[in-house]
């Protein structure tokens, strides 16, 4: 592993995203637009449903977006031959993976900063914990999405297949993360499954920040998500083979 090479990969990925204006705008603006839509949906209803659902959405965005973006871009690296070329060069597999994680982590930080600013500043989301901690959760969450995206890209032969992994990997996590039905109110089997899924902890962390704001509970959740991300990167590294058939 070498920091120079990791940063070279990260810098290159960021240049590519910057060049692709439409993707960049969508990455930054879309989450803000969707969270505003959510706020608007509940605008005429009594109660504080936005305060309950908003944090979950803030956790879900970076995860979904980075999952999709990473699985498609790494698949492109595999099929264009650039990955083969890089692996024939003195580039560690971890340099490659961490480079992607750093680049998308930075984008996620920007994305979350905007979404949080809109949620808290304009839409009146009540956050009891420190706002920057929301950002930390979002970035860790994005790294998780990147890690899983890298991993599944190994099992997709086409970009079309890669996109199909979203309903498989992402949607069940959204359904079981506590946004629709509180996790402890789920049927026991589903609760156990929910406990084993990383997104549940990301959403827990966000909700804790908005609710009781017990920081140690938040860090506990963050470390679980981070653990999943590291495991995902390790699995991803295992799918990067220097020698292929």
């Amino acid at each position: 592993m070498s920091p120079t090479r990791t940063l070279a990969v990260a810098g290159r990925v960021l240049t590519q995203v910057r060049r692709d204006r439409r993707t960049l705008v969508m990455l930054l603006v879309l989450p803000c637009a969707l969270i505003t839509l959510l706020w608007w949906m509940f605008a005429d209803l009594p109660g504080n449903a936005f305060d309950r659902l908003g944090p979950g959405l803030l956790a879900i965005f970076p995860f979904i977006v980075m999952f999709l973006v990473t699985s498609v871009t790494t698949l492109r690296e595999r099929s264009s031959g650039t990955l083969e070329r890089l692996l024939a060069m003195p580039l560690g597999r971890l340099d490659f993976l961490l480079g992607y994680a750093v680049a998308f982590g930075i984008i996620a930080a920007l994305q979350s900063a905007l979404a949080v600013a809109v949620s808290v500043g304009l839409l009146g989301l009540d956050v009891n914990g420190p706002v920057w901690l929301l950002g930390v959760v979002a970035v860790v969450d994005a790294v998780l999405g990147t890690a899983l995206g890298l991993f599944v890209s190994a099992f997709a032969a086409t970009e079309f297949q890669a996109v199909q992994f979203m309903p498989l990997v992402v949607v069940p996590q959204i359904l079981l993360c506590g946004l629709f039905v509180a996790r402890d109110a789920l049927p026991p089997v589903l609760e156990v499954i929910s406990n084993a899924l990383p997104l549940s902890y990301a959403v827990d962390a966000m909700q804790e920040l908005v609710g009781a704001a017990d920081q140690s509970a938040v860090w506990g959740d963050v470390s679980v998500v981070l653990g999943f991300a590291v495991a995902g990167l390790a699995l991803g590294a295992a799918t990067l083979r220097r020698r292929t058939a």
Binding site: T15, R19, S80, G81, T82, E84, A88, M89, T244
Partner: protein
């Protein structure tokens, strides 16, 4: 035996159920060596084995006395795949800078400019690769392989589809590099490129059917293509 840059002994490669290379033994020395054969004969698989990115069933491949793909070789062997392995959404210069960083090339700017000049892409250096023609893209890919002055260059059909003038210039480049001590292994399915090589390896159906200088292989045949046909026909009779 410092003469052998690449030494392959009994290399077998099986892809799926097909035996692509049933057991090849060959040596490649300094200079420009052409690997010629029809498409699908296993040239790319052989080159991938040399670079160390091909899963092999058995046999050994050594480059500069080390097993192919070993760590010490990764910045000494330049490799160009058949499709241009560069990033379409980056400019030529950005691609080169990135790969130069990965290779840990010293004097980054100079190395990149020199590589761009070698493949005659100065006028397109700031253009995004995706906007270039096929030939320009493959030259950009070739430029990446030239970074860091590798000791061995493995080029998989680098001249396909290029304008004759450019093709001549690239062959001149290969010979210049060879004169400076780089061993160049170039594949092609166009037999008329044979005459431009110092040595030839003729390949068919996963086997080397002839090797030597173009003059020796040609013998009294009209050209290399003719010699190739005779070899195949003699084999069929025998």
């Amino acid at each position: 035996m410092m003469n052998n840059v690449i030494a392959i002994v009994d290399l077998r490669v099986v892809r799926g159920t097909r035996e692509v290379l049933p057991g090849i033994t060959l040596d490649v020395g300094p200079g420009v060596t052409g690997l010629l054969g029809p498409s699908g004969c296993g040239k790319s698989t052989l080159m991938r084995s040399v670079v160390g990115v091909q899963e092999v069933r058995s046999g050994t491949v050594e480059i500069l006395g080390r097993p192919a793909g070993s760590k010490a070789l990764r910045d000494r062997v330049g490799y160009v795949t058949q499709t241009a392995s560069v990033y379409d959404d980056l400019s030529v210069a950005e691609n080169l800078r990135f790969f130069a960083r990965v290779l840990g090339v010293r004097d980054l700017d100079r190395a990149c400019e020199a590589a761009i000049a070698s493949v005659d892409l100065d006028d397109h250096r700031d253009q995004v690769v995706g906007d270039l023609s096929g030939g320009q893209r493959s030259r950009a890919s070739l430029a990446v392989a030239l970074l860091g002055a590798p000791d061995v260059l493995v080029l998989d059909e680098p001249t396909v589809g290029l304008d004759p003038v450019l093709r001549r210039d690239l062959w001149a480049l290969f010979h210049r590099l060879a004169d400076d001590g780089t061993a160049v292994l170039v594949s092609s399915h166009v037999m008329d490129e044979a005459e431009r090589c110092d040595r030839l390896l003729l390949m068919r159906e996963g086997r080397i059917i002839a090797h030597g200088t173009p003059a020796v292989i040609r013998g009294d045949a009209r050209d290399i293509e003719d010699a190739f046909l005779r070899l195949v026909e003699n084999e069929a009779v025998a």
